[in-house]
């Protein structure tokens, strides 16, 4: 039975591709339904083809406002978490000092805790302080939970750095600042970039922590959540599709650049 033999030999590839299909299926559905003209408030059943939503992606009240708010929060959260996280990562890898164990646990714990627990506890703090829920409380929360992920990403990169490169820079009479800017930072950059990208994605997509701490402020995930109850406009699918396409393009472009650099380094 050649067919069965072929199946057995390629079992892993077939299983892997099936998983990949399972992962992409919703993206395809989102894409297809962005061209739908729904009957009524909900966009769950195919009616007929239409480009209306693509022509007018901001045609729904508050949708683009929530989108731009989410982008702003994600941008600031990325800056905050990346700066603070990179500093921590360098301190942890490069220096020996007391309380390292405790600090490592403090950084590990936010990742080892269900989001809803952090969300609820942060809300009790804000309620007790009488803080007004909104942009700032959401930003504070996002920096908090992105921080650990940035530290982990940067730490991994800094750990694999050869300390002799910096010694060499010092031997060539580079000052500490010069060594850091011209040698250390460029080598650590891919780790920092990965951490920043992760922070941006996590913040932009966060729902649970935002849901607890946003008050009446509406970020994009909150808008989608609300629309699930009230009726989903097709524009949501348009934005979902656009985000998927942009993400794929950005990541592919990044890899192309990395490949080219690798090739030119070889030549």
């Amino acid at each position: 039975m050649p067919v069965l033999r072929w199946l057995r030999r390629n079992l892993i590839v077939i299983a892997g591709l099936l998983t990949l299909a399972y992962m992409i299926l919703p993206n395809i559905v989102v894409m297809v339904f962005s061209f739908n003209k729904p009957n009524g408030r909900f966009n769950y059943a195919w009616q007929r083809f239409s480009l209306d939503a693509w022509k007018d992606p901001c045609g729904v009240a508050d949708l683009c406002g929530s989108l731009s708010l989410s982008l702003q929060i994600a941008a600031w959260a990325t800056v905050g978490a990346t700066v603070l996280g990179t500093m921590i990562a360098f301190a942890l890898v490069r220096y020996r000092f007391r309380a390292r164990g405790a600090i490592n646990s403090l950084i590990f714990l936010p990742m080892a805790m269900p989001e809803v627990v952090m969300a609820a506890s942060l809300l009790t703090l804000f309620l007790n302080m009488g803080a007004e829920l909104g942009f700032w409380t959401v930003l504070i929360a996002h920096i908090m939970f992105c921080l650990s992920f940035v530290v982990t990403a940067v730490k991994a990169r800094v750990m694999s750095m050869d300390p002799r490169l910096e010694e060499a820079a010092r031997d060539l009479y580079a000052g500490p600042v010069q060594t850091f800017v011209r040698v250390t930072l460029p080598i650590a950059a891919p780790g920092i970039a990965a951490g920043a990208l992760l922070a941006f994605a996590l913040s932009f997509d966060d729902f649970i922590i935002t849901n607890f701490n946003a008050g009446s402020t509406v970020t994009f995930p909150m808008f989608v959540w609300g629309s699930a109850q009230r009726g989903t406009p097709v524009q949501i699918n348009v934005i979902g599709t656009a985000m998927f396409v942009i993400a794929v393009l950005v990541v592919l472009a990044g890899q192309l650049v990395a490949n080219r650099r690798k090739n030119s380094a070889k030549n």
Partner: protein, 312 residues
């Protein structure tokens, strides 16, 4: 927590002794503390301190109108457990099932990317990572369309009589998937798959291909090679992957709310409702503390048993 650090080998490497034997100046010794200060302060104020506040809230009594007061009323914990233990059990059950499914589905794909994808590797990796950047709420809503009553999936499962079996097991109803446990577990599995695949891929990719050749040279069948070489070496990925899926899945309420029904509510939903709608802060705080305790306990035991210490 078992967070071990950089293999000290690298930093402890015998470095050329510096000619000056002077101790580093105080200013230099303070550098790491200055680097740590802002970030750690942030975590202390906005992560650790809130947990203290929550602990205090959980032993308060009172009402929103009269205000809450710490009365060390520990009975809230028992009441919360008594009223909501089905949701707790359900959360752990669903999260556990989703984690196992993620491992079963994710392993072949991670293996495919690491060893078989060749020049397609980057594209497949991108397709695994891209969902991170697309709103997961939108994608979860798409499952509503996919699993809809009378849709293609339900039709196929019905024709194959799969739904008869699953409804007998209590996973679905006899003619629908949406609003049943299976829909929630399907959504959870889907949402957390990338968190399983990426660590698995990272640890598989590190395996030296020559080990496989060596195993083959020693007359190991592919199955034996997998069992004795590949899988044990991928254990760090398996451990961090299962943690990265189980922990968030146990507290998730998005899938249960969007794809489930009142019969599939998870504990996250209860915490959210108590906190944001009922405004019964002590009960909500107690519930969230119990969830935290259960998860941390399970994680600690699991890490101990699996014997992998280098997680982060």
């Amino acid at each position: 927590m078992s967070v071990t650090d950089a293999p000290p080998a690298k930093t402890a490497e015998p470095q050329p002794r510096k000619p000056s034997v002077r101790k580093p100046s105080t200013r230099r010794r303070l550098v790491p503390y200055w680097l740590l200060l802002p970030g750690i302060l942030w975590l202390v104020v906005f992560f650790a301190l809130p947990l203290v506040y929550q602990a205090s809230t959980s032993v308060q009594t009172g009402s929103l109108e009269k205000g809450f007061e710490v009365t060390w009323h520990f009975a809230t914990y028992w009441d919360a457990l008594r009223d909501y233990y089905p949701q707790f059990i359900r959360s752990l059950l669903y999260a556990g099932t989703a984690t196992i499914l993620c491992l079963l589905l994710g392993y072949p794909l991670a293996y495919l990317i690491a060893f078989k994808a060749g020049r397609w590797r980057n594209l497949v990796l991108v397709l695994v990572i891209a969902p991170f950047f697309t709103s997961f709420l939108i994608r979860t809503l798409a499952w509503k369309t996919i699993l809809a009553d009378g849709g293609a999936v339900v039709d196929v499962l019905n024709t194959l009589h799969v739904l008869d079996v699953t409804s007998w097991l209590g996973w679905t109803e006899s003619n629908r998937v949406l609003a049943t446990p299976m829909a929630v577990v399907c959504g959870l599995t889907y949402n957390f798959l990338p968190f399983m695949i990426l660590p698995l891929y990272t640890s598989l990719e590190r395996i030296d291909g020559r080990l496989h050749e060596a195993a083959g040279d020693l007359y190991a069948t592919p199955a034996t090679t997998f069992r004795k070489v590949t899988f044990p070496l991928s254990m760090p990925g398996v451990v961090s992957g299962t943690l990265l899926t189980f922990i968030p899945a146990s507290g998730d309420y998005v899938n249960a709310e969007l794809l489930g029904s009142t019969d599939t509510k998870m504990v996250g939903s209860v915490i959210q409702t108590q906190f944001l709608r009922v405004l019964d802060y002590p009960t909500a705080a107690a519930l969230s503390f119990i969830l935290m305790a259960i998860v941390l306990l399970m994680v600690t035991v699991y890490i101990r048993r699996s014997g992998t210490e280098d997680l982060v």
